[in-house]
């Protein structure tokens, strides 16, 4: 065998060694670390942050209406029909979950029967939030016979403090989803019920999927939370005084992400299809729906290594720490 080390051999080995170096740096030799801790004394809150590399940070000291920790539950059940489609649901769940991991939010998946158990127990509503990707609730918790709602476990649960995150790529409404085996069509055979008006939301009927438009006016909250989702198509809703804009506002007053309060809880509507998973993960992790006011004390900047910042403790129930710009590197909500 000819084993002469000539120029092409050196080039080939160089490329291979370089790729293996890349593999090693990305995988076993990558020791990047992002973390923070919060300590308090009688007057101040100290946030000690660590980032192995230069990172942008946003730290908010917030006052909460509800300072209990919420467990995050993804609803998914293949036995019930999905407006989104089960494969897309799984993909959306996976994408959102992958960002929640870096924001130190644990989540679990529940099926229709478990969802019913959760919604029935209104006393624990303030400690739970449900994320719905299917665009419809299973008919064991929400049913409509064409004239009246025959079953509704959602609204009492929200009234008691539960939060429903609703990622919709169809027109907003709480739809009743039949078992897959009973499903005929979403168009006219199945009982559908759009309850938007109960949340002071209205639709722009002229908006179709092809009319992709963007909200150009950024809300203060979206700047603080690094939310980028500003597409208004699909379930874009018109804002009203009782609706909080968590994203961007269009020229016609519609919001890309709206939080509609209902009792002590409410529902968050995500519209559009531009990276909504990142924005949704940030909204869940920051617990923004439980904030008592939306002008919190905020500090931002960049750092590498160790960095400490201080807040006045007065009126602060929690500290939300976030590293990164659009893609989260690290985030954590510290309840005090």
């Amino acid at each position: 065998m000819n084993t002469k080390v000539d120029f092409p051999t050196i080039v080939l080995l160089g490329i291979i060694v370089f790729m293996l170096l890349g593999a090693a740096l990305i995988y076993p030799l990558n020791h990047n670390e992002f973390k923070s801790e919060v300590t308090t004394d009688s007057t101040s809150i100290y946030v000690n942050m660590h980032s192995s590399i230069l990172s942008d940070y946003t730290v908010c000291a917030v006052d909460l209406d509800n300072n209990s920790k919420r467990s995050v539950l993804f609803y998914y059940d293949e036995n019930y029909e999905s407006m989104t489609g089960h494969a897309d649901e799984l993909s959306m769940m996976e994408k959102t979950g992958s960002h929640l991991k870096y924001l130190n939010v644990e989540y679990s998946t529940i099926n229709a029967n478990e969802l019913k158990e959760v919604l029935t127990e209104t006393t624990t509503a303030q400690t739970k939030s449900i994320v719905v990707f299917s665009g419809a609730f299973p008919c064991n918790v929400y049913a409509y016979d064409g004239t009246t709602i025959t079953l509704d476990l959602i609204k009492p649960w929200m009234e008691a403090g539960g939060i429903v995150y609703w990622w919709s790529d169809a027109k907003f409404g709480h739809y009743s989803s039949p078992l897959v085996s009973d499903f005929v069509s979403w168009e006219d055979k199945q009982p559908l019920y759009a309850s938007a008006t109960e949340f002071s939301l209205t639709f722009d009927e002229t908006l179709t999927d092809d009319d992709e438009s963007s909200g150009r006016n950024r809300s203060n909250i979206s700047t603080i939370l690094n939310i980028e989702q500003n597409i208004l198509n699909h379930t874009a809703v018109k804002g009203s005084a009782s609706i909080l804009n968590l994203g961007f506002e269009g020229d016609d007053g519609r919001y890309s992400i709206a939080y509609a309060k209902y009792g002590s809880g409410g529902t968050v509507l995500m519209s559009g299809d531009f990276s909504p998973e990142k924005s949704m993960a940030k909204i869940i992790a920051s617990k923004v729906c439980d904030w008592a006011n939306y002008a919190p004390s905020v500090q931002t900047g960049q750092f590498k290594g160790e960095h400490q910042i201080t807040f006045d403790k007065t009126g602060v129930d929690a500290v939300y720490v976030y590293f990164g710009t659009l893609t989260p590197r690290y985030g954590e909500l510290f309840l005090l």
Binding site: P8, N30, S213, R218
Partner: protein
């Protein structure tokens, strides 16, 4: 005057100009590198994917931990080294920010409001520039190895390093196809040298980067068998060595994904496209049946009425181009029909492109096997020339549609070698592809859009100018999701790159008419 004639008249002046330079390689290196460094701050809509990839890289959890990276791991490795080293050594780590100025553009094309920082653009593209330099030196070395002519090898160096599509892809787009080009060329070289273990490594690595070098495989195998025709044992040893090289490098490069359970995700870029193709095949089954019947009828006709290409088909360049345009027009009309009209075709251009691409890839595989068969039984005595030519054609067949311009970089180094060593006529397709593909990729989103990051972060040029000019380019009267002006310019670039690709085949079957091109 035909374009090829105009171009051919310029070739001697290249030679003359180059021979007047005292140190041509240094001058070319300097000029090409300055061009690339000036281009580094420019951007393209794909940069957002590299941003997502970089964020995945720095987490320590691997390339596939979050959505956004849509290739096999090898490009991630190339990207990872400069990203990680820059974050360790410098104050580098802020990769992308939201730009409210970009919001008006979001409604067009695939613009995003997230803009990558200029430092990020420069860092992630640096290895593409290095790839260009390496490729130019490999081509120069290879030409010298085959000709021992310093002048020809310097000209080959210039062809690669000053090729517009090569410096636009590294300096602006940040695509990694140059590594495919280097590795494909190296696999051919190692086959010529009978070093099939290294050939297996080079070919496997090239194919794991992007799929198109796969069409080289039947040709390389046929070459191996031809070379060891008289000795079955030695041919089996050579083949085993090549397979061993491929398997070893595959395991080494994929060990992180095998180890951390993301092996399946690392192939999703390929399988998602195949899924799309299967979905489309289901939708257009009737068109597939018509095409199949047509192919069977054609094969039957050819068998009954054998054609000798050399004797019976004598076409002028003009006739060849007219036939090519006829084929393109027929393909276009066919697509318009199956996609339900021009608007339907442009509304879903990616699906249309998948449809054409998959059909052409299937065709290319058959052609590649046929070319391998012809190579094995060829009576030519110049095995090296035969392998380079047949290998080029096998890969070029997979580009007989409207591939993304960067894909063509795979064949440019090998064409440069062939043109400088065997047949100068191949400079014409080389230059047409180089300029046409560069024009195509720039006109996809328009020249102004390349400045969005520098405009946003440095204000040079002013961001409102950049946005207004880009909006004018992409926001005018449209066909489907694209403005008419966008479609016209892209079609022009695509036509040039397709003509260049077809000329590779035309020259193969046309005898030398001008003796000076025979080297």
């Amino acid at each position: 005057m035909a374009l090829s004639e105009v171009l051919s008249k310029t070739y001697p002046s290249f030679d003359r100009y180059l021979s007047e330079l005292k140190n041509p390689v240094l001058v070319i290196l300097l000029v090409g590198t300055i061009i690339r460094f000036l281009l580094l701050p420019l951007t393209n809509v794909d940069s957002i994917d590299w941003y997502h990839t970089a964020e995945n890289i720095i987490t320590g959890d691997g390339l596939y931990t979050r959505a956004g990276y849509y290739y096999g791991p090898l490009f991630g490795y190339i990207l990872g080294v400069p990203i990680i080293l820059a974050t360790i050594l410098f104050d580098f780590g802020s990769f992308s920010h939201f730009s409210e100025a970009m919001i008006p553009l979001q409604e067009y094309f695939t613009f995003k409001a997230a803009l990558q920082t200029v430092e990020f653009l420069a860092v992630f593209k640096i290895m593409m520039v290095v790839g260009d330099i390496v490729c130019a030196f490999v081509v120069r070395w290879f030409i010298f190895y085959l000709t021992e002519d310093r002048h020809k090898s310097d000209l080959g160096f210039a062809l690669v390093y000053l090729s517009p599509i090569i410096f636009v892809e590294s300096g602006v787009h940040g695509m990694f196809d140059i590594y495919c080009g280097i590795l494909a060329l190296l696999s051919v070289y190692f086959a010529i040298k009978d070093r099939f273990f290294l050939c297996g490594i080079a070919w496997t690595t090239a194919t794991l980067l992007k799929i198109f070098p796969a069409f080289l495989m039947p040709v390389l195998v046929a070459y191996l068998l031809r070379k060891h025709k008289s000795d079955l044992k030695s041919s089996m040893i050579a083949l085993s060595s090549a397979i061993l090289g491929g398997v070893c490098i595959f395991l080494a490069l994929y060990s992180p994904q095998i180890g951390n359970g993301t092996f399946e995700e690392s192939w999703s870029y390929l399988f998602s496209r195949l899924d799309k193709a299967i979905e489309l095949a289901g939708k257009y089954w009737w068109a597939a049946i018509i095409a199949l019947v047509a192919v069977i009828a054609l094969i039957y006709y050819i068998r009954k009425h054998p054609i000798s290409f050399k004797k019976k088909i004598k076409l002028t360049a003009k006739q060849s181009i007219l036939i090519m345009l006829g084929i393109v027009a027929a393909a276009f009309l066919g697509l318009v029909t199956v996609t339900g009209g021009i608007n339907g075709m442009f509304d879903d251009l990616f699906h249309t492109s998948y449809l054409v691409g998959v059909v052409v890839q299937a065709f290319a595989l058959l052609v590649s096997i046929y070319l391998a068969y012809k190579l094995y039984y060829s009576k030519s005595e110049d095995d090296t020339k035969l392998l380079i030519m047949v290998g080029t054609l096998a890969m070029a067949t997979s580009f007989l549609w409207v591939p993304m311009p960067e894909y063509l970089i795979l064949i440019l180094p090998i064409i440069a070698v062939y043109a400088m060593v065997y047949d100068r006529r191949y400079l014409t397709p080389y230059l047409i592809i180089s300029f046409g593909a560069a024009f195509f990729i720039i006109m996809v989103e328009g020249p102004a859009a390349l400045f969005v990051s520098v405009g946003n972060y440095f204000g040079i040029p002013p961001m409102d100018w950049v946005v207004s000019i880009t909006e004018f380019y992409v926001g005018g009267p449209s066909i489907g999701n694209y403005s008419i002006i966008q479609v016209v310019f892209c079609a022009l670039g695509a036509a040039m790159q397709l003509i260049g690709t077809v000329l590779l085949f035309v020259y193969r079957f046309r005898p030398y008419r001008m003796e000076e091109y025979r080297i």
